[in-house]
């Protein structure tokens, strides 16, 4: 978490105007045996909201992308089911095909009014709220 704070401060100091954090969806779902990772991820996700609120007046947008835990190398069997429903999409997500396009979107001018948001790209597992 300390590294995340330093990274945000560094990006702000460098004058970047599109800040994006990427976290596993266990930030929102929690995970047995992985409370430390879930806590860190959720702390980063909410720091995004704080930064978006504080830096918005300077034209800086700050957003979060939440992806399936396996993209972080987290053992999904350990995480367990986070929904009573199966994943909406049959395919597994990949960094190149699913994460990178969302980074491109959040970085683009098209997203100039998008800030403090969490874009969840996990194949339709976590749908709350």
């Amino acid at each position: 978490m300390r590294e995340a704070i330093v990274a945000f401060q560094g990006a702000h100091k460098a004058g970047h105007t599109r800040l994006i954090a990427i976290v596993p969806t266990i930030a929102m779902s929690g995970a047995p045996q992985l409370a430390h990772i879930a806590a860190t991820a959720e702390a980063i996700r909410v720091m995004v909201k704080s930064a978006a609120r504080q830096w918005g007046a300077d034209g800086i947008t700050v957003n979060c992308i939440a992806v399936a835990p396996e993209l972080f190398g987290i053992d999904t069997a350990a995480v367990g089911a986070v929904s009573i429903a199966p994943p909406a999409l049959a395919t597994k997500g990949t960094i190149a095909d699913d994460l990178v396009p969302l980074i491109r979107l959040a970085s683009s001018v098209d997203a100039h009014h998008l800030t403090g948001a969490t874009l969840t790209a996990d194949g339709g597992i976590w749908m709350a709220p």
């Binding site: 978490m1 300390r2 704070i5 330093v6 945000f8 401060q9 702000h12 100091k13 266990i26 930030a27 929102m28 779902s29 929690g30 995970a31 047995p32 045996q33 992985l34 409370a35 879930a38 806590a39 860190t40 991820a41 959720e42 702390a43 980063i44 996700r45 909410v46 720091m47 995004v48 909201k49 704080s50 930064a51 978006a52 609120r53 504080q54 830096w55 367990g80 403090g116 709220p129």
Partner: protein, 263 residues
């Protein structure tokens, strides 16, 4: 002898609860509400000078309470508090982590890792781990009566422009609650969060400095007032502590008069 102001039907008779940061404010309100329903309450306060009067006033109303001076940032101190509790009352059914220090306004780009993040995370995130780990064997023994309740904040859901690093601390607490809810669920133990906006000493002090703040806060609150630590917030904690919430776990009740309507 006078009686507790809140309704008392003995819902927690025979149960024992520790409430951290119960020397004042929300923690005191929760402790009083749990005691009013018959719980033995341990006032875990950083300084006995604040905790003892709370315990004595509960005793004066016919309740069961003791004060145990506890530094929640110190794992051994928390473990000693739990050991004292079990020695005195024979069991621990309910752990309420409420204590918190920090939350001063700051700019994120200028935040000091030690002064802001470390300071707040010690009484927030780390103290949740200390209290949870120390309480766990006893909560497990309490089975379906075992309760871990964490006092977090609406800011931990929404983020904050004024105190940006306070929000992640409170968010981390919620993620731990969800994780432990799933981890401890098979034992029957529930883990939930209360996110209050309440008339704590810190908020009342802020109102004194800025009456406009109070007016603004009340204006944006559908119920038009700030919560009372005992009757409003304590009653929500009581729900989580009682058998009424036996099938509720991993949840957060935002108890703020309706300001946050995010779900």
């Amino acid at each position: 002898m006078t009686s507790f102001p809140s309704a008392n039907s003995g819902r927690l008779a025979g149960r024992t609860a520790i409430v951290t940061g119960a020397g004042q404010g929300v923690g005191e309100g929760i402790a009083r509400r749990l005691a009013s329903e018959g719980a033995n309450v341990v006032i875990a306060a950083r300084r006995a000078v604040t905790g003892e009067p709370v315990a004595e006033s509960i005793q004066a109303l016919g309740g069961s309470a003791i004060c145990v001076e506890t530094d929640i940032t110190n794992r051994e101190s928390v473990a000693a508090c739990v050991a004292s509790t079990v020695q005195r009352f024979g069991a621990l059914h309910i752990m309420v982590h409420n204590a918190f220090r920090g939350g001063l306004p700051h700019k994120l780009e200028e935040a000091d890792l030690d002064r802001h993040w470390k300071h707040m995370s010690q009484t927030g995130v780390w103290a949740v781990l200390h209290t949870g780990q120390a309480a766990w064997p006893h909560l497990r023994d309490a089975g379906r009566h075992g309760r871990f309740i964490i006092v977090t904040s609406p800011s931990g859901v929404e983020g904050s422009a004024n105190i940006p690093l306070y929000s992640p601390v409170k968010a981390a607490e919620r993620a731990i609650a969800k994780s432990l809810a799933r981890e401890w669920g098979p034992s029957g133990v529930t883990v939930n969060c209360v996110a209050p906006v309440a008339a704590s000493p810190a908020l009342l002090s802020a109102f004194e400095r800025s009456p406009a703040l109070q007016a603004a806060l009340e204006a944006r609150t559908p119920l038009g007032r700030v919560g009372d630590p005992e009757s409003d917030i304590g009653s929500v904690a009581l729900f989580f502590a009682s058998d009424d919430s036996a099938y509720v776990t991993g949840q957060t009740i935002v108890c703020d008069g309706g300001s946050f309507l995010g779900l």
